[in-house]
């Protein structure tokens, strides 16, 4: 019996170690390949040059245009998703009757289940022409349309995690608020949202890190032209799009051009790592508060 137990424990440990090993392996590949890249491009150039044209005659290796593209689409997505997601969360938690909530919540989750390639074409063929009717100067590939659709995609992430956070606010706080004669609205926005703020922030950060890493939507709808701009109406390129573009093309392995995707990859990795760490820290504080 004891032996069998040991065996199962071993299996479980292997499973856990396997995921760690995969992560270590990915980091190792990213580091070793981008080491080759940074041997002939200085880190300062990489961070300060304002052009990114590694595949062309006049080579520049400034990551900033790709970073600005990524941040721009992410920012637009959050501007769309945060108010809508939070409103949905508050409504479902405070106002909606349970029967309605039980229907709407799974429906919202469907949004998260739509394949991102579908979202991408939705942005390119529906949202962009619609935006062009309002603003005819808008380019066919642009950050705005991709950002809006990406925002729609992450609404369920924000609404569902924020709702959990609101739900976790101790009953006593809510009762106290009502006891003081607050209206539902006052209770929701003055008491519950501040009390659940760290949980809401965590949901936003997770949504941001999802948006930063999102590939298909921006690759299809935002363009493939790296440029340092915060103009949402022109074609841009995100870090992820660049990686896709190079991987799908005919760039030979081992060349500096090929290594650029690892440099871009490690930048992306650093971004999401920082975001995840922040969210873990906030989460910890949040747990301490009410336990």
């Amino acid at each position: 019996m004891y032996k069998k137990e040991k065996f199962i424990e071993g299996l479980l440990a292997t499973a856990a170690i396997l995921t760690i090993l995969t992560t270590v392996g990915i980091i190792w590949v990213l580091l070793s390949e981008s080491f080759g890249f940074f041997r002939h491009v200085s880190l300062i150039d990489f961070l300060t040059d304002t052009q990114w044209t590694p595949l062309f005659a006049d080579k520049h290796y400034g990551i900033m245009p790709l970073v600005s593209g990524t941040l721009l689409t992410t920012l637009i997505a959050i501007i769309i998703a945060l108010p809508i997601g939070l409103t949905i969360a508050i409504y479902l938690n405070e106002y909606a009757p349970p029967s309605f909530r039980n229907i709407v919540k799974p429906l919202l989750e469907i949004l998260a289940a739509v394949p991102t390639v579908v979202y991408g074409y939705f942005a390119l063929t529906e949202v962009t022409p619609w935006l062009q009717q309002i603003y005819p100067e808008m380019a066919g590939f642009n950050a705005l349309s991709a950002g809006i659709v990406m925002g729609i995609m992450i609404i369920p992430m924000i609404s569902s995690l924020s709702e959990d956070a609101l739900y976790a606010v101790p009953r006593s706080l809510r009762d106290a608020s009502y006891g003081m004669g607050s209206t539902r609205f006052q209770t929701a926005f003055r008491v519950l949202v501040p009390a659940a703020s760290s949980g809401i922030i965590v949901s936003v950060i997770l949504a941001v890190s999802r948006a930063v890493g999102e590939t298909m939507i921006v690759a299809i709808a935002a363009g493939q032209q790296p440029r340092l701009t915060f103009d949402p109406t022109v074609p841009i390129e995100t870090i992820t799009t660049y990686i896709v573009q190079v991987s799908m093309g005919d760039v030979a392995r081992g060349t500096p051009e090929y290594q650029t995707i690892f440099a871009a990859g490690i930048t992306l990795f650093v971004f999401t790592l920082i975001l995840n760490n922040i969210s873990i820290r906030i989460k910890k504080r949040f747990q301490q508060k009410y336990e």
Binding site: T50, T53, L55, F56, A57, Q132, P235
Partner: protein
């Protein structure tokens, strides 16, 4: 690679043994051997498509197609290392003399025409023609980050940002465009939407009033209603690209003929003759499929007669 092709030869030998009784019964599937082809990456897609079809019908023949560029291919061709060279320009005199020193005569066969179209959005009502010099100013590496508005290209064009779309840096179209416009192959600005996927370019230009882009003329034909052609002026007035203007060479420098060169020593082998004849038969259909301007039936006939005369002249 060598080993693999030898192995395939060995396999085909085995399979031809199995089919021995068939060959006896007079069928002409008994061709065997290897046809070695190299040269232009622009002609490569046609050659590759022909080779695949031919290989399916003649299992005994191994066709090795490489793409080291027209010049690289002619070097090997002149040394007798390959049987057929794909060329996106006529042979140069230096390459011709290399052939002569090695006692190689050859025949030049026209297989298709390549044309690049410069296109804009249908709502663009100012850019009807563009000169080669303007295109050069717009696409050369020095333009990167500097030439960003229509008004910088020509006075009177709108003071609006220009959005450029073009072939990705790894494609033959990119090589050709840069060579024809900028003068140096692969020399281009990098701040444009570069994609190997022509659909991305069509989508981008079709949805953007201030866009300008280029791609294969044949690809324009299937997207006529969404895009507008720009006439190119190389000094003799603006010329719109079309099958006619590419063929009669008035559309320059973005239109050019594509050739294959077959060496005299190679046509002594029946598999090379069979392959070349098959190539000429299929070139029109396959070149259209891969995005080029195909030869007419008459032109194909002329090339076939030329080839037959060359083969019989050597015997």
């Amino acid at each position: 690679m060598r080993k693999i092709s030898q192995f395939i030869l060995f396999l085909s030998f085995l399979s031809s043994c199995g089919n021995g009784d068939k060959a006896d019964s007079g069928s002409d599937t008994s061709l065997a051997g290897e046809v070695r082809i190299d040269g232009s990456s622009t002609v490569y897609p046609i050659t590759e498509a022909v080779a695949e079809d031919f290989g399916n019908e003649n299992k005994g023949v191994v066709i090795a197609v490489a793409e080291s560029g027209t010049g690289g291919g002619f070097k090997k061709f002149g040394r007798g290392e390959i049987d057929i060279n794909d060329a996106s320009r006529p042979i140069k005199s230096t390459e011709d003399s290399l052939c002569k020193t090695n006692n190689i005569s050859y025949i030049e066969l026209l297989v298709a025409f390549d044309g690049l179209a410069v296109v804009v959005n249908p709502q663009n009502d100012w850019c009807k023609d563009i000169t080669v010099a303007e295109l050069k100013m717009l696409w050369e590496p020095a333009a990167q980050g500097k030439i960003t508005k229509w008004s910088q290209v020509r006075n009177g064009w709108p003071d609006q940002e220009i959005h450029l779309f073009g072939a990705g840096s790894q494609s033959g179209t990119f090589d050709y465009f840069t060579e024809a416009i900028v003068g140096i192959s692969k020399a281009s600005r990098g701040d444009y939407t570069a994609s190997e996927d022509d659909n991305v370019l069509v989508q981008g230009i079709a949805g953007d009033k201030y866009a300008l882009g280029f791609f294969g003329l044949a690809y324009f034909a299937s997207n006529k209603d969404k895009l507008k052609l720009v006439a190119v002026n190389s000094g003799n007035g603006p010329v719109l690209p079309s099958v006619e203007t590419v063929k009669n060479k008035s559309y320059t420098p973005l239109g050019r003929p594509l050739f294959i060169y077959v060496s005299s020593s190679a046509v002594k082998r029946p598999e090379v003759v069979a392959f070349t004849e098959y190539y000429l038969d299929q070139a029109a259909k396959l070149s259209e499929e891969v995005g080029y301007v195909p030869l007419s039936e008459d032109e194909t006939k002329t090339e076939k007669e030329k080839f037959q005369a060359f083969v019989s002249g050597l015997q």
